[in-house]
């Protein structure tokens, strides 16, 4: 494999507080420290980049000791929450700013698209802006001329090409801008989350184009997104950053699973021992809830055509014959999809002790995405809710997209809260 990008111990430090107020005095102090060989940049008081905690230090590591390698033709996704260092990494890779420590080694020409339409001049026409924007992105006049027709066609603005771009609709503007960048003759294309601005059709077109770029012309693409859906469709490998630090780098499905596990509040297994997590009353208490597959292994990710199981372990403290376990399932848009009560074990007498119930949700029911489970215990006579824990248990539904599932060979997002398999018959 031909390594195109090699990142070694890459770190970037930013100053907290107001940068505009740097005074000559500060600089003199800095020069003096440099002069007497005090290296401020390695000062231990510098903190990791956790934006939620109040900082006591003057500096912060936006990126700290990042190492990875990228091979030719790979599509790499970069994920992490806001403030994880994704944009800083892209800025360093595209030479907007320089690292504080470490090195980036690059083979080939880099083109970066951190913003759509960088340098577009509103007074100039679409045609003039193609040349301006192309040149800013590093294309020669000849390259732009050669690609001109393709750019115009991709953007779909043939009719308006001689109109100043200030008269364009925002959609046309974005399409034209992406079209220029997509036709760059570079070996490495760096794309920030710029596609979020277009309509969904156009976003798909862009994602498709990016996929094309890598698979047909062997270009390497680095892509930042918060949209796990686009990441999983597009990327071969994913780099996962957290608070400026490296977490993991590996195959897309593995890293996305890790990311969703670590960053979402839902888990596939929850224990209720600690005093702050105790759920229940004097009749029933939750002990543990697990999401399992058909082989009883704890899992988080399920294919749409797999059964999802739940095991609820609970403690009964007082003998009762009026106790029902129920589950509520929500999708990631907080739509309450359904509720199910354990009617089989109802009227059974629970003497004090520890019990487990297991239930399977059928395959081919959910649409793709993260789902959350609420676990509840109730009595019917009189109707009492003993406990209800919502949102801490979850699982993720994915689609293999190999034609074997109920999406068939359709590759775009299928809308809807549920996606059952139905029998279609020709009559």
């Amino acid at each position: 494999m031909n390594t195109l990008i090699k990142v070694e111990n890459l770190s970037k430090q930013y100053r907290l507080g107001q940068i505009g107020t740097i005074t000559l005095k500060d600089d003199v102090i800095k020069w003096w420290n440099k002069f007497i060989k005090k290296d401020l940049s390695l000062n231990e008081s510098i903190e990791v980049n956790d934006r939620t905690s109040v900082s006591s230090s003057k500096f912060v590591w936006s990126l700290k000791n990042i190492n990875f390698e990228i091979n030719q033709g790979e599509v790499i996704g970069i994920i992490g929450k806001n403030g994880a260092g994704k944009s800083t990494l892209l800025k360093l890779l595209s030479r907007i700013t320089a690292p504080t420590n470490g090195k980036i080694k690059i083979k080939g020409k880099v083109a970066s698209l951190l913003e759509v339409g960088t340098g577009f001049h509103p007074e100039l026409t679409g045609k003039e802006n193609i040349f301006l924007n192309g040149a800013i992105l590093g294309m020669s006049k000849k390259e732009i001329t050669n690609n001109f027709d393709a750019i115009v066609k991709f953007a779909g603005v043939e009719k308006y090409i001689n109109t100043p771009v200030k008269r364009y609709s925002s959609g046309m503007y974005v399409r034209l801008a992406f079209a220029v960048a997509a036709h760059l003759d570079s070996d490495i294309l760096i794309v920030d989350e710029v596609l979020a601005v277009g309509d969904s059709d156009f976003q798909k077109k862009c994602l498709g184009k990016m996929k094309d770029i890598s698979s047909n012309s062997g270009k390497t693409v680095l892509f930042v997104s918060h949209n796990m859906d686009s990441i999983s469709r597009l990327c071969d490998r994913v780099l996962y950053l957290k608070n400026g630090e490296f977490v993991n780098f590996g195959p897309t499905s593995v890293i996305i699973e890790q990311y969703l596990n670590e960053e979402s509040s839902a888990t596939n297994e929850k224990n209720y021992f600690a005093s702050d997590t105790i759920k229940g009353n004097e009749i029933v208490k939750l002990i543990q809830v697990k999401v399992i597959d058909e082989l009883n292994f704890t899992r988080y990710n399920f294919s749409v055509d797999e059964k999802i199981g739940l095991i609820v372990k609970f403690q009964v403290l007082e003998e009762t014959s009026d106790l029902i376990c129920g589950i509520n399932v929500f999708n990631n848009m907080d739509v309450h999809l359904f509720s199910s009560h354990d009617t089989v074990n109802y009227k059974k007498v629970y003497s004090p002790g520890i019990y487990e119930v297991k239930v399977y949700i059928p395959e081919n029911l959910f649409n793709e995405g993260v789902h959350y489970c609420g676990i509840a215990f109730m009595s019917y006579y009189p109707f009492t809710i003993h406990l209800n824990d919502v949102g801490s248990i979850g699982f993720n539904i994915i689609d293999k997209q190999d034609g074997s599932t109920n999406r068939g060979f359709y590759t775009n997002t299928i809308p809807g809260a549920l996606r059952p398999s139905l029998n279609w018959v020709k009559i």
Partner: protein, 284 residues
Amino acid sequence: MDKEYSDQTWDLVIESKNKFFNLNLKEIWEYKDLVWIFVKRDLISMNKQTILGPLWFFLAPLFTVVIYTFVFSEIANISTDGIPGPLFYLAGTTLWNYFQSCFIGTSSTFTSNANLFGKVYFPRIVIPLSLIISGLLKFSIQFIMFLGFVFYYYNQNLINPNYYIFCLPFLILLMAGIALGTGLIITSLTTKYRDLTYFISFGISLLMYITPVIYPISTIPNSIRFLVEYNPISPIIETFRFSFTGHGTFYFFDLLYSFIFMLIILLSGLTLFNKMEKTFMDTV
């Protein structure tokens, strides 16, 4: 040694420190189309939404000359060294305007292009270079008008153009070099010390008054003449005027002084610019 060797195969190594002086001419050449496009953008956007359009390139200096002739020549009665007033002022302002537009443009390179620089990489020096070139085109237009005046007064036998006019390319080079060098220093420092932006506007008019633009060097009292003589721009203006009119002064060593000053200021400017361009986005 092994590591050294493997470093050789990379096209680009991004590090925290730049080499002390690193003017990558090859890279700038690769971006020549961009330089040209910026020049065009400059010239086009300047005349957008004006009725007279490019005519302003002639009108602006003409008005200046009329005012100067009236104020300095008629009212203040300052000598023009025997050169007809309008030609005298036109000679001064044509070359001075070139310096001024290059200097002011270059000195706000970082602050006025922060948006662009924050989103895309290209050699930052492309912007000052394009300003120097678009300034040169504006200068050429005004210079043609100036030649018209020269021709008119020459026919009336009021002036004696001489072979020193072949110095002109060298004079322009000096002007461009000094404007670029000082502009680069100012823009590099303004990324941190914004105070300098206030200094630029009155600094440039102050500089004009210690440059023989509106008066000949011969009219300066001896007590303050050093101010004008140590100003490296003075010999350039004086030589320019002398070569086209035959009036005034020409000293080879004064020009040499300007040349050496230009080299030093340009090298320092490029060095400082090169140091700042990598991280200015963090401070701007």
